[in-house]
Every structure is written in structure tokens, then in C-alpha cells.
């Protein structure tokens, strides 16, 4: 059984149709898992279901063997799941340091030490610590977003399109940072549009189509699978 696992999840928004049906995704600590698929495949929805932002109609979510399907997103955050949304993932009116402080809001102690750890992981944030995040570049903002999410020392980190809207160079840099985070023994699940690059750093990947698991396997397997290549990776 995987550390963090969503099993046979079926969910939709409100009373609307099911966006994902019988979708299963899992991740272990120290592993990067990519969720890929065409537009409207339910990638972000699957992730939000695992975070509890929408209710499951059937299926379950477990963390470290414990069923967390029924608890609120806030309580899941307390259990060690951290989420970086695709948009509005930083406090744009606050400084870098304040963003990190809020990330560690629930910490009882060791706040300053954790902030130091984040600065070591993302040295640019240390330079810009007193700057308002709204004034930073796209790549730097994404680092703030990652840093904020890591402040609670999560065991699971979920990233919704971390490289959306950044240049290819910044994308490579961000992926390097994500690998660094993985090495701190965190389970990382990310939804990505840049499938090739995402698979190249991922341990495993899932390809969703119309809300269901279509393919799954290690990063290399998916990269080399002719059908996956033809349908999603552009030949």
C-alpha cells in the first residue's frame, strides 16, 4: 500500500456530472508522480479530490494507511498534505518572509529554523526576503509558492501545474527545485501540461483520459510507450 493513495475515486462539482470516475492515484515518500492527460481529462479534479476540495461520491483517500476521505482540506493540511494551486498560489501583497511565516502558521516552534531551510533550498528567496511577492518574477513567485507549501514540513506535496506560464529556462530551474524537494523525503504529486519534461523527472506517471486511468507506469515507460507518445507527447 502506497503512502498516499486515492483509490477508485469518483467525484464531480456540485450536482454536475462526474469529472473523474474510478480514478486511482498513489505516491510514496521520496517519489515524484506526474498526472498527465489532455485538457478536461480531470487531472486537477483528481488532485483536488485527494485534497478534499470536493467530495468523493465513491472511493477513498488514505494517508499512511489512515482513511482521510471524510476530513476537511484544512484538517488534511494539518495531517501533512500541502497544496500549491495553479493560480493565486502566493500572498501577493505580503513580503517573501511573511509568505513563509504564514506557510508555517500552524507550527508551534522552529519557525525561524524552517525559514532558514527554505532559504537554503531557494537561495533567491533569501535575497528577496523583504520584497513584496507581487513584485517578483514568475519563476521567483513559483519558488515562493513552493517555499510556502514546504513550511509546514509536509509529507505530501501536491503541485497543480507548477510551470504554467513560465519560460523554458525557468521551467528547468523549477524542476530542479522539485527534485531537491523530493530528496527531502516528500511524496510529490504534480499535474503538468509539459508532459515530456515532467515525465523526465518523474518516477511514475498517470495518464488520465475522460476522468479514468488510461496508462500508468514509470516515467521512462510512458515516455517510450508508442501509444502514449502518439496521443499525448506529439510523436
Amino acid at each position: 500500500m502506497a503512502f498516499f493513495e486515492g483509490t477508485q475515486m469518483t467525484a464531480g462539482y456540485g450536482d454536475g456530472p462526474d469529472i473523474i470516475s474510478s480514478c486511482s492515484i498513489s505516491a510514496n515518500r521520496g517519489e515524484i508522480v506526474a498526472i498527465l492527460g489532455p485538457n478536461g481529462a480531470g487531472k486537477s479534479t483528481a488532485m483536488k479530490a485527494m485534497l478534499g476540495l470536493l467530495n468523493l461520491k465513491s472511493g477513498s483517500v488514505t494517508l499512511d494507511g489512515k482513511d482521510i476521505s471524510k476530513i476537511s482540506p484544512q484538517d488534511r493540511v494539518k495531517q501533512g498534505i500541502s497544496f500549491v494551486p495553479q493560480t493565486k498560489n502566493v500572498f501577493a501583497e505580503l513580503t517573501v518572509k511573511e509568505n513563509l511565516e504564514i506557510g508555517g502558521f500552524l507550527r508551534e516552534e522552529g519557525l525561524d529554523k524552517m525559514i532558514e531551510n527554505i532559504y537554503n533550498l531557494f537561495p533567491i528567496l533569501s535575497e528577496k526576503k523583504s520584497q513584496i511577492v507581487g513584485q517578483l518574477s514568475g519563476g521567483q513567485r513559483q519558488q515562493v509558492a513552493l517555499g510556502r507549501a514546504l513550511m509546514s514540513e509536509p509529507s505530501v506535496l501536491m503541485l497543480d501545474e507548477p510551470t504554467a506560464g513560465v519560460s523554458p529556462i525557468v521551467m528547468d530551474e523549477l524542476f530542479e527545485h522539485i527534485i531537491k524537494v523530493k530528496k527531502t523525503n516528500v511524496a510529490i504529486i504534480m499535474v503538468e501540461q509539459n508532459a515530456k519534461q515532467a515525465l523526465s523527472i518523474s518516477d511514475r506517471g498517470y495518464v488520465l483520459v475522460t476522468g479514468q486511468n488510461k496508462f500508468e507506469g514509470s516515467g521512462d515507460e510512458l515516455l517510450n510507450d508508442p501509444e502514449v507518445r502518439r496521443s499525448f507527447l506529439g510523436g
Binding site: 493540511v77 494551486p85 493565486k88 500572498f91 501577493a92 501583497e93 511573511e98 502558521f105
Partner: protein, 336 residues
């Protein structure tokens, strides 16, 4: 000598009153801006909430006077501030629990919220009328002047007198203390930072483990302090009349919007901008100019741009101009 007289006239009739009036508006404007930033609606009950808090200060002042409790040369009303604040906060929390929280949980649009606050405004007005009535009340006691015009004339030998009312000095000092503490709280404490985070990005704040109920509670507590103190200072300086408090909502909203709504520091400065504009535009400059020009050129008219009856037109004009030219205000608040 004439030049100094001119300056004294201007200081006495515009600078000092505008500083005091501006401080009172600033407290109200920060109240408006705080509710807008954290609870996300324009609170039309602002004026009447200030009136509600002041009502308790007036009643308690009468009570304290009757039992002989006072502060000597300071107004007894200062002693009532903590009690009035507590009553105000309790009333706000009650309203929030039974009215606003319902719409907050439903995630109603801001316009609906504003309409709800209009309802709260009417109810608050009615309660005030039942408890204390609509009439004009003065509750200032203690020493009225720090510096009297005659004393100043004797001291300096000038023709013109400079007066400093104790209420003006108290207003400015108390405002500076309250506002400094509030900015320190918002910018330097963990709770303050969490409030700003909640105002900036609610969803992310929830994901970071910030408790929305606590943020709402603290917002109402700060709002209660600002509304009550602002209302009491205004009432001491002028007089307590519920209808005037309702009217003051216009300059207060203008101040909050000029400063950039959602930005507390902007609201603070906005209060002074509106106060100075209102007073400088409605002041009769006849005496001031008479000192500066040769005797035979003294103006015949009052040299007044607008009658004081139109002072609300000034804040309304500023409001409209700011919304047309720079809707985000001086300090880039949220665009309305």
C-alpha cells in the same frame, strides 16, 4: 506682523480644526477599509455603528457624572471608552452572528452584503433612537481649552488669537496612539500577518491553516475599537447627534476610497485629505487676505469658494473624481 497674523488666522480656522476632523474621519475610514479588506463588503452601517458606540459613552458619562466620578480637567468620556468599546464589540459580534455570517457562509456577492449592511444600518438607527433619542447632546466636561485666544493675544501681542481646544488635542493624540498600535499589530504580529494574508488570498490562507472564524472575530474587535473611539472623539469635539453620524458616512467613505480601499494606511491619510479639502474649500478667506494686501485692496466679499452648507458636496466631488481618474485610490487599494 501682518504676515504672522495671516498665518495665525489660517492655523486657527483651518489647520487645527482640519487635523482634528481628519483624525476622526481617519478612524472611521480605517474601520471601513478593514471591513472591506477582510470581510469583503462596504459597510453602510459605519456611521451608525460609530453612533452606537458613542451612545454608550454619552450614557455612561451622564452616569459617571451623577456618581461624581471624573478625570478632573480631562473629559469624563475618556473613562467610558473601554466600556463603550466592549458594548460596541458585543453588538457587532451579535450582528455578525445573526446577520452577516449567514451571507458569508453562502458566499454572497459583495453587493448583496452591502444591501444587508443597509438593513443593519436601519436597525441600528432604530435602536439608537429607542435608547437615547435623536436629539443633540453635549457630553464634554473638564477643561475646554488648552490655549485660549485671549491668552495667546496677550502672550504674543498679535491681533489674532490662536485657540487650541482640549478636544482637538485629545483627538489628535488618541488617534495617533490607536493608529500606531493598530499598524504595529497588523504588520508585526503573527495574528496581524494572518489577517493580511486572509485579506489578500482567502483560499490560500485557509490552506495554510488560518482559522477564518478567528480572523473575523479579531477584525470586529479592531473595528469596534476604531468605530467607538472615532465616534467618541467626534462627539466630544462637536456634539453627539445620531443623524450627523449617519451623514458622516459620506466623508468617511470618500476618505477610505481616496486612500485606496482595503489599504489601512491609505485610509488614514485619506481622512486628512478629505478633512483639509472640506475645510479649505469652505473657509472664508476674507480676514486672511486682508492681512496680506494693502489696506485699500481689502476684499468686500467673504472670499469663500463654497458655503459650509455644501461641505459634503466637496467630499462627494472628490469621491467621484477619484473613482473616475484613479479608482484604486492614492495607495493602490483594491480596484472597485
Amino acid at each position: 506682523m501682518d504676515f504672522i497674523n495671516a498665518i495665525v488666522v489660517l492655523t486657527n480656522f483651518t489647520l487645527i480644526p482640519a487635523l482634528a476632523y481628519g483624525s476622526q474621519l481617519a478612524l472611521g475610514a480605517i474601520f471601513v477599509t478593514l471591513i472591506y479588506a477582510v470581510l469583503r463588503f462596504a459597510n453602510f452601517a459605519t456611521g451608525d455603528m460609530m453612533s452606537f458606540g458613542t451612545m454608550f459613552a454619552v450614557l455612561l458619562t451622564y452616569y459617571f457624572q451623577s456618581i461624581g466620578l471624573g478625570l478632573g480637567f480631562l473629559p469624563t468620556a475618556l473613562l467610558t471608552i473601554p466600556f463603550a468599546i466592549i458594548m460596541m464589540i458585543l453588538y457587532m459580534l451579535l450582528i455578525d452572528k445573526f446577520v452577516f455570517s449567514y451571507y458569508r457562509i453562502k458566499k454572497s456577492p459583495p453587493v448583496q452584503f452591502a444591501m444587508v449592511s443597509v438593513g443593519v444600518m436601519f436597525v441600528t438607527q432604530a435602536i439608537i433612537r429607542i435608547i437615547i433619542g435623536p436629539s443633540d447632546r453635549r457630553f464634554l466636561d473638564g477643561e475646554k481649552f488648552i490655549l485660549k485666544a485671549t491668552e495667546f493675544k496677550e502672550m504674543t501681542g498679535l491681533n489674532e488669537g490662536l485657540t487650541l481646544k482640549s478636544t482637538q488635542a485629545i483627538t489628535i493624540v488618541v488617534t495617533l496612539i490607536i493608529v500606531s498600535i493598530m499598524f504595529w499589530f497588523l504588520n508585526k504580529t503573527k495574528t496581524g500577518t494572518s489577517m493580511r494574508a486572509y485579506s489578500d488570498n482567502e483560499d490560500l490562507a485557509l490552506l495554510s491553516g488560518i482559522d477564518p472564524k478567528r480572523v473575523v472575530l479579531i477584525t470586529w474587535v479592531i473595528a469596534g475599537i476604531l468605530a467607538t473611539v472615532g465616534g467618541i472623539l467626534y462627539g466630544l469635539d462637536k456634539s453627539y447627534r445620531p443623524f450627523v453620524y449617519f451623514n458622516n458616512m459620506l466623508p468617511i467613505f470618500a476618505a477610505a476610497i481616496v486612500g485606496g480601499i482595503g489599504n489601512p494606511f491609505g485610509a488614514f491619510l485619506g481622512g486628512y485629505v478629505i478633512a483639509f479639502a472640506e475645510i479649505l474649500i469652505t473657509y472664508a478667506y476674507k480676514r486672511f487676505i486682508a492681512y496680506l494686501v494693502p489696506e485699500n485692496m481689502e476684499p468686500d466679499s467673504l472670499m469663500q469658494l463654497l458655503s459650509t452648507d455644501y461641505k459634503f458636496a466637496v467630499s462627494f466631488s472628490i469621491l467621484v473624481i477619484v473613482l473616475l481618474i484613479r479608482p484604486s485610490g492614492i495607495f493602490k487599494g483594491k480596484t472597485i
